[in-house]
Symmetry: C2
Subunit: 500 residues, 2 copies
């Protein structure tokens, strides 16, 4: 039995991955193709797929196989041993939470998320607060159950679900390091900022925007036979590694908003495409976690696409495809457009410099909500206080305040920090890549992304989940996650305005 | 236990239906949206979904529940009791075939179907014959296992899988009745046929074809919020009842080929849309079988859409949308175009009069192949003999002969007869409908399909699988499946050329 235990486990996890892959494509379909009348049937399909993969993960026999495989660890190579460790992690998390609680939380989140869609439009937080309270109550139970099983603090147990290995103590340290320079840097950038750059004036035909975006996807190395680009209300990257599906949304008035979204999602998609083929459908072959995933999207969107070398490549293409002419379409003006700083109310519209403050507001508040120190009924006031402290701006209504993001209302606590961890990691990886391979920057200006993507493949993508994030970063950049490169990048782009 | 056994069964079959629904949408995606590089990943997802739903169907506990529910039949209403009967049918079929045989057959069919795609292009039947032999050998084993469990003849056990309740003896009787008049009627129609009608000369912009097709789908009652129209190599109707997805293929040279395909698939889709909402995801709430399904597509495509009332409605729209002008676009010419008869080599291109002969050729040959009387190596010669007998025409190569259809190479034996049973049922249902509701024909000419669709909903769609096909036909038309109405329809359209 134990001789074949590891092989048996691979078979079981392969089936689980097939179910998860099927669900991923159906999620994509729901957001892009499904007629509205299919909603209930789709929800039932996805619930059954989720329930089955949970049952397959949580069944006692899986634990027996893991135990048996562990007795013969010496027979496994490094990848297999790591795979076994990740199987155990998934199994432990699945076992930790009672099925009844999983179901109750799923229902509470569905109800809360549905109410959020209406309440946000009506700016009616009072109608939403009781449902959020229930989500928080059940999330607290879930966090406690996970904490108990994994020997972690409750919030860390949630964080670990999105970003394995990340702990509050590390986030606190990194966020403190950011906070030590960001407010002053933001002030300086704002003071230094000249009059608004020239706007790009449309309309910009959507078909031209789409074709340019598709051309850039391929330029960046995303093969047409393994990817699609479609439209959805909220852009995302989905599907499975051999069939990645990215989405964006277009506006005729906005020359490059959709394009920048596509470049962001292309970063995610390149990570999925580059995952190790030999470990498809195994835990060790999957992406590591949300902070590394976001590092890949932000590396392409923020480090590369808003830098001068890329803009030198992009500017003439923008002019041809979108019919632009004049100084507004020159690299200098584009660079100013993309490096514009403003303290605003909305996270998803925030620039690179002020985005971390939005994340810190949420990181603060979600821990207080879960810890019980903040009553959901008092969230709007606490939001205003936190926004004033971090961004010196206060929303005039809850729609643009504590109701702007779906995360909490969908039960996602512990997710927000990964956005900023990803931004930090993106800067660290890009800095290391451009130092190690001097061709990279020059290549980008010529539209040659091969050297960059090859470096990312070798140092990130092909490793899958072989190493924890900080070990991967040490191997690739010489140190674990640190804010140094991010700070240098921001200073260069927003203060020195050098060739970055 | 037995008190809740029936309810428990409904829950289990609901989960099976969710898996099958998920697979249906993924099949659609494979044919319409999936980039080619996703093929292997998709095959793995579908195989796992299929294996899981088979396991859920075949597990011994399901049999215990069925037994327990049967001891309390008195507690069930008519729909529930029928549902239980259908559950048992599905369970019996799933149990009958050993898992190893299911898997061996699945592999043999995949290999044979893949070879068929190449061999057909190369007109190389010799390369295909050994793989077909293996498929037939395993299909014979499967038929024997099913026959044993269901107490049916082996071929009937296969037929029953596509069309519950249909038996060879009934097919033989109906085909003999057809054969008694069709050859002479075909001769007469050919002799009577005038010079070729005027052709519709293109090109016809594909976008205009698509928009007209979408308009007609809605006209026929297929709600936009519950359906989609896309493009695939082989047109089909898929998805789930609340989210039906039909496909067609367009050619700029063919004014109405794609449109007629859409009308055919719309007939299938209306059946799915009309299935009883209260029995979603239960066996009794599903479509009955292939012959009734095909009756619904052929009723719309053949009975309605090629009849004069519909052409009176369609002709002006064709002229507007496709820019047609002149006598070729008048109802008389269109009617002649759609009622053109010719004995040809290809089943899918055949007209209404000669189509049954194509089916009879296959019905004959597939029983001999399965019975062992015909060696697959000798199929081309047997094909030529059968074609000469039934259609007086012999293929010059196997590409247009025994390799033209995918069915056998994909392991589908017992499917072909349902096409012609469907054509017979379509005529019988349409004749009854137009007699019972005189408004129907007048409505069609004005583009009002409500009375027709309402009759189909009441008499076919909303019944799901509540009754066997012949009982449903008796209730709707006063008699079981008979060729009378089909013969009358063919005589009227092809000989009398009356208002049909």
């Amino acid at each position: 039995m134990s001789a074949g235990a590891y092989a048996d486990l691979e078979g079981r996890f392969r089936r689980i991955a097939h179910l998860e892959g099927a669900a991923a494509v159906l999620h994509w379909d729901s957001a892009t193709m499904m007629p509205s009348g299919g909603t209930a049937a789709r929800a039932a399909q996805l619930a059954t797929l989720g329930r089955l993969s949970h049952e397959m993960l949580a069944e006692p026999g899986l634990g027996d196989l893991i135990g048996a495989a562990e007795t013969r660890l010496g027979a496994l190579d490094g990848w297999q041993a790591r795979n076994l460790q990740l199987m155990k992690r998934r199994w432990s998390r699945a076992r930790a939470v009672p099925a009844g609680l999983v179901e109750a939380l799923s229902h509470a989140c569905s109800a809360c998320e549905a109410r959020w869609r209406d309440a946000r439009g009506a700016n009616d937080y009072a109608a939403l607060a009781p449902l959020l309270s229930e989500v928080i109550r059940l999330t607290r139970e879930r966090a406690a159950a996970l904490a108990d099983a994994l020997r972690l603090e409750p919030y860390d147990a949630l964080l670990d679900g999105y970003d394995p290995g990340t702990r509050t103590v590390a986030v606190d340290r990194l966020f403190a390091a950011l906070h030590a320079f960001l407010p002053a840097l933001t002030e300086a950038a704002l003071a230094r900022q000249a009059a608004p750059p020239e706007p790009l004036v449309g309309p910009f035909p959507i078909d031209a925007q789409r074709r340019l975006a598709e051309q850039l996807m391929v330029h960046l190395g995303l093969e047409a036979e393994h990817s699609r680009l479609d439209v959805s209300r909220h852009p995302f990257s989905g599907g499975v590694p051999d069939d990645v599906r990215i989405t964006t949304r277009y506006s005729e008035d906005d020359a490059t908003g959709a394009l920048m979204g596509v470049l962001h999602e292309t970063g995610h998609a390149l990570y999925e495409r580059g995952l190790p083929l030999a470990w498809r459908d195994q835990p060790v072959g999957g992406a590591h976690g949300m902070s590394l995933h976001e590092s890949q999207s932000l590396l392409i969107e923020m480090q590369v696409s808003r830098g001068r070398p890329f803009l030198a490549f992009l500017a003439p293409r923008l002019r041809v495809w979108l019919g632009g002419a004049g100084s507004a379409w020159e690299v200098d003006n584009l660079h100013q457009l993309y490096a514009r700083v403003a303290r605003g109310l909305i996270r998803v519209d925030a620039d690179e410099l002020t985005y971390p403050a939005h994340v810190m507001v949420r990181y603060d508040l979600e821990r207080r909500l879960l810890g019980g120190a903040l009553d959901p009924a008092d969230l709007p006031e606490a939001w205003a206080v936190a926004m004033r402290e971090h961004l010196d701006i206060v929303p005039t209504d809850d729609r643009d305040g504590c109701m702007q993001d779906i995360h909490w209302y969908a039960g996602e606590f512990g997710y927000f920090p990964t956005y900023t961890l990803g931004a930090i990691a993106a800067a660290q990886l890009f800095a290391a890549a451009t130092v190690q391979v001097p061709d990279i920057s020059a290549g980008i200006a010529r539209g040659e992304f091969g050297p960059l993507v090859a470096w990312l493949r070798d140092n990130v993508h092909r490793l899958g989940s072989r190493f924890e994030r900080d070990e991967l970063l040490c191997r690739a950049t010489g140190q674990p996650l640190e804010v140094t490169a991010f700070e240098e990048h921001l200073r260069a782009r927003y203060l020195d305005n050098v060739s970055d």
